[in-house]
Symmetry: C2
Subunit: 238 residues, 2 copies
DNA sequence: TCGTTTTTTGAATCTGGTTCAAAATATGCC
DNA sequence: GGCATATTTTGAACCAGATTCAAAAAACGA
């Protein structure tokens, strides 16, 4: 019946209100400061109502993550559509990642936190599934690019599965973000901050996979050009 | 005077008692369950006494991490002494890492948690410094190996700094652990669990750096032999 | 031995997440 | 509309557990 449809929609709207507001509060004072009661009040609802949407604070944080990753996905989908040599496309993923993380620094911190056992275990099973689901399309796109490379003869898997190669690039991205994000780490070891370090290492990895065309890192401008080109395509104002 | 020396030593012993007991409790029921009052009681001290050693629960967790990384370091130091081609040595770091993490699964989870902003910010400044200090020697060893490779002509940095190359391997290790450790992720994307995926990607990265001698991944046995050899050297009963 | 300083104690405090009985609202029926 | 029933919302009470701090105990020094 029509009534219950409207109710459903209203419920959905309220959930978005909660999430929007939570995002604002987090942006303003960090996610550690987020308080359930404060959030509810800021939305003009009682605390209990908040708990009809989220089984716990952790569950809320995970919901926030899941929503954010939709944005994340959007970026990836743009790359999926892009007609370009496979090696440019896989690298575009890294550039997009990097840019996304730079803009959404809070998101990185949040995802780091959410993936923690302490948090993960405290969210509802449904939410965990939802979050894993969010990863699926991203995974599909990345391994799609790897597959394209193999099909077009740019990449000889040498017995490795598509996923294994995708995993490599993913791990390098992931690890770089973690290191970049660890308080004081780069400074302590005097590694220059910025994406280029990661970009170069990514190309070393891709070169090591024999992913054609190989990129010559001894010519810094080649990489710089490539990055510029990709940023342009992604319409990133770096 | 002599008295205060003894006092100092007793204080130190008590701190170790707290840490040892905390480790046991964590091993038994996970670090989420760790409660300050429970821990104090288990050591036959009052809660307040615990707080004379650690400014907060987070501070305690970080102290635990710092102590663990001494073990971690030990492993690395063994590799530092090892007379072998640079490429074997850098790879040995990964194998050691991997093995260490397999054995000390709790430690990985803990370090993931501790590096989180929410936790990091809640520990004392001194503790944070201490933890960063722990990273120093590891960093020194890794970049030492990179340097050796360059000096011996196994590796042409092509303008990259020693640290940049070390960062690459580190990030790949780090990222692999994070992915491996994320609940349900490997399963969701049907990537086989186990260290070999990471090992192969590490060699792709090293090959991409043109780190000699290159390793031929199309011959699975070559890598297997190498791993076996290194495990033997590290006296790891895999 | 006694006054002073340091250390230890653990009950009280405080914070903030979570619950749930009561109140409010919506729904369906005549 | 008016009424009985079901659903939703409310927010004060509850609770867990980290942290504090005034009082008690112990150590020290003369």
């Amino acid at each position: 019946m029509g009534t219950s449809e409207r109710k459903q929609r209203e419920r959905e709207e309220r959930e978005q209100l909660f999430l929007d507001t939570a995002e604002q509060l987090i942006a303003a004072e960090g996610f550690i400061q987020l308080q359930m009661a404060k959030l509810a009040k800021a939305c003009d609802y009682a605390t209990g109502t908040l708990y009809q949407h989220f089984t716990s604070k952790e569950d809320l944080l995970m919901a926030l993550m899941a929503r954010q990753s939709a944005l994340h996905l959007e970026l990836f989908e743009r790359i999926e559509q892009w007609q370009a040599p496979s090696r440019q496309r896989i690298f575009a993923i890294c550039v997009a990642e990097q840019d996304f993380n730079r803009r959404q620094a809070n998101y990185v911190k949040l995802s780091q936190y959410v993936m923690t056992e302490a948090v993960w275990e405290n969210a509802s099973e449904a939410r965990r599934q939802q979050l894993l689901q969010c990863g699926q399309p991203i995974c599909r796109i990345v391994s799609g690019i790897v597959q394209q490379a193999i099909d077009e003869g740019d990449l000889d898997p040498q017995g490795a599965s598509t996923m294994e190669l995708a995993y490599g690039t993913w791990a390098l991205c992931q690890g770089s973000h973690t290191l970049d994000h660890t308080q004081g780490l780069l400074e302590a070891f005097s590694i220059p901050r910025g994406p280029m370090t990661m970009y170069r290492n990514m190309h070393r990895l891709l070169n090591g996979m024999q992913w054609q065309p190989l990129l010559d890192l001894s010519q810094p401008t080649v990489l710089e050009q490539l990055v510029k080109q990709i940023e342009q395509h992604l319409k990133i104002a770096s």
